[in-house]
């Protein structure tokens, strides 16, 4: 970020606020581009993973090699589709909802460190900011469900809101556990701590439990199967985005895959070493070497967790509404609190895996 501001100063003679704004615009534009390309890749990957789990081939024709251009073709199709606004819908709310949904999730990405120095803002409140800003997404979904003026949309939105608000509690509590160990909200501190000590997943059994709780409840937060009640196709047509078509519809898709990415990224950064390689001390490396390797390592870990999310989606049946609620409130929330309190006690006495 600072390097970019300096670069703008040198190249175009920009100073102060202007250089800062230009640097932000470039950073956010590049993240936006990355998210778009990533989503197209992830949709193709999802279709291939689903197909292979169900012993099919998936898309094979478009683009030649294993149908790699299928998502690109889909995106072009969505761009050219007619943009329908239902007659009885509330046009302004209908128009603004996809933007609100996408912004909430996308804003979380600006505090994520992809490698040493590859970060838009090194925010002190990193993790907390991601969780807080992601909760805006629910408002967008409610707006979408209400403005569509369709009962399927409204049911989907109500289910989504109930589910996401409930699962914010175990998500946030599970995130507090590594925060308690490292003693900071800043995402970079997690990377340096894990480079100096060990991956947090191996810190104590409670950390592993917190990772599991966070991963399960983040699945519910992304509305992924087995928690895909808000868009249950067999019951609600397609939930809160039933009435949407064309580019607006694709914004909901972008949001879903971006929130999967953020959840996988948080799991990788907070528990699985971030951009650090296992058994290799990369702190003394030259930035030109550490930067690309860090990005590749972090993305590899992230895509592994995205793969696990897809794997779970295509192997588990959908839960019922009451099962989702009892899962959240009777199992995840109490165990998240147990992990939090147990970690406080364990780290106070400095125990490892076994209390010796």
């Amino acid at each position: 970020m600072e390097a970019l501001i300096g670069l703008f100063g040198e190249l175009f003679g920009l100073e102060g606020t202007l250089a800062l704004s230009a640097a932000y615009a470039v950073c956010i534009g590049s993240i936006l581009g990355f998210v778009t390309v990533y989503s197209m890749f992830a949709i193709w990957m999802e279709r291939k993973v689903a197909a292979h789990i169900q012993v099919r081939m998936g898309p094979m024709v478009t683009g030649g090699w294993h149908g790699w251009a299928q998502s690109v073709a889909d995106a072009v199709k969505l761009l050219f589709k007619e943009d329908i606004i239902p007659t009885r819908a509330n046009a302004f709310m209908f128009w603004i909802a996809p933007a609100v949904v996408f912004c909430g999730v996308f804003a979380g990405l600006i505090v994520v460190p992809f490698a040493v120095g590859v970060q838009v803002v090194d925010l002190h409140l990193g993790v907390f900011f991601i969780i807080a800003i992601a909760s805006i997404e629910v408002i967008g979904v409610i707006i979408a469900g209400w403005a569509s003026n369709s009962k399927y949309s409204l049911f989907g939105a109500v289910r989504e809101a109930a589910q996401v608000v409930s699962y914010e509690i175990p998500t946030a509590t599970a995130l507090l556990v590594p925060i308690l160990v490292v003693g900071s909200f800043r995402l970079n501190d997690f990377n340096t701590w894990q480079a100096e000590h060990h991956w947090l997943i191996f810190h104590s059994p409670w950390l592993a439990m917190a990772a599991l709780i966070f991963f399960i409840s983040s699945l519910a937060g992304c509305k992924r199967a087995p928690f895909d009640l808000p868009e249950a196709e067999s019951e609600l047509v397609s939930g809160f985005h039933t009435e949407y078509s064309g580019m607006r519809f694709s914004f909901f898709f972008l949001e879903e895959y971006t929130s999967m990415f953020v959840a996988a990224l948080l799991t990788a950064t907070l528990w699985f070493g971030g951009f650090n390689l296992p058994f290799v001390d990369s702190s003394a490396w030259h930035p030109a070497l550490a930067m690309p390797i860090g990005i590749v390592v972090l993305l590899a870990k992230t895509f592994f967790f995205i793969f696990v999310q897809m794997w779970l989606r295509w192997t588990l049946p959908r839960l019922r509404v009451d099962q989702v609620m009892s899962m959240g409130y009777k199992y995840l929330v109490p165990w998240a609190f147990v992990a939090l309190i147990a970690t406080a006690v364990w780290d106070y006495y400095g125990w490892g895996w076994l209390p010796l």
Partner: protein, 171 residues
Amino acid sequence: MLDFMFVFFAAIALAGGLVMAFHQSIVHSAFALVAVLFGVAGLYWTLGADLLGATQILLYVGGVTILLLFAVMLSTRDAGRLAIGRYILMAPVLGLLGAGLLRVYQGVIAISEGRELTLLEPEPTSDAIGQLFVDPHGFLLPFEVLSVLLLVVLVGAVTVARQQQEGTPDA
């Protein structure tokens, strides 16, 4: 930069507040309340209270208003047009309250007039707030009392909700 952000968030909050107060449909008012709370959270952030701003977004924008929207959307028909006539008697009371608030602002402006403003670079506040919460001479007692109060409220709400369900088979 900070000045611009302050004006930006203040504009969001003000515009949301106007829509909230004057829109006929109560659902629109509730959505405008989201904008107000978001704008105020941004103001907190620009003024250096980053933890407060993020907490405001997490709890108020992402939690409380959703419950409010639930109540409004599920309990009113046809987006609930407000019958303003019924509340016309409240107007003098609210007017007096508004006048009182204006007087307070006047006092604040009178105090701060002519003083030099020194803008400091905002520092992270989370460490200090965390220390205050566990400090026996700080806010440990109020914090614990509030937690117990909230727990009592939670148990009470569950009890009330379960009593109303009696007679229906337990799910």
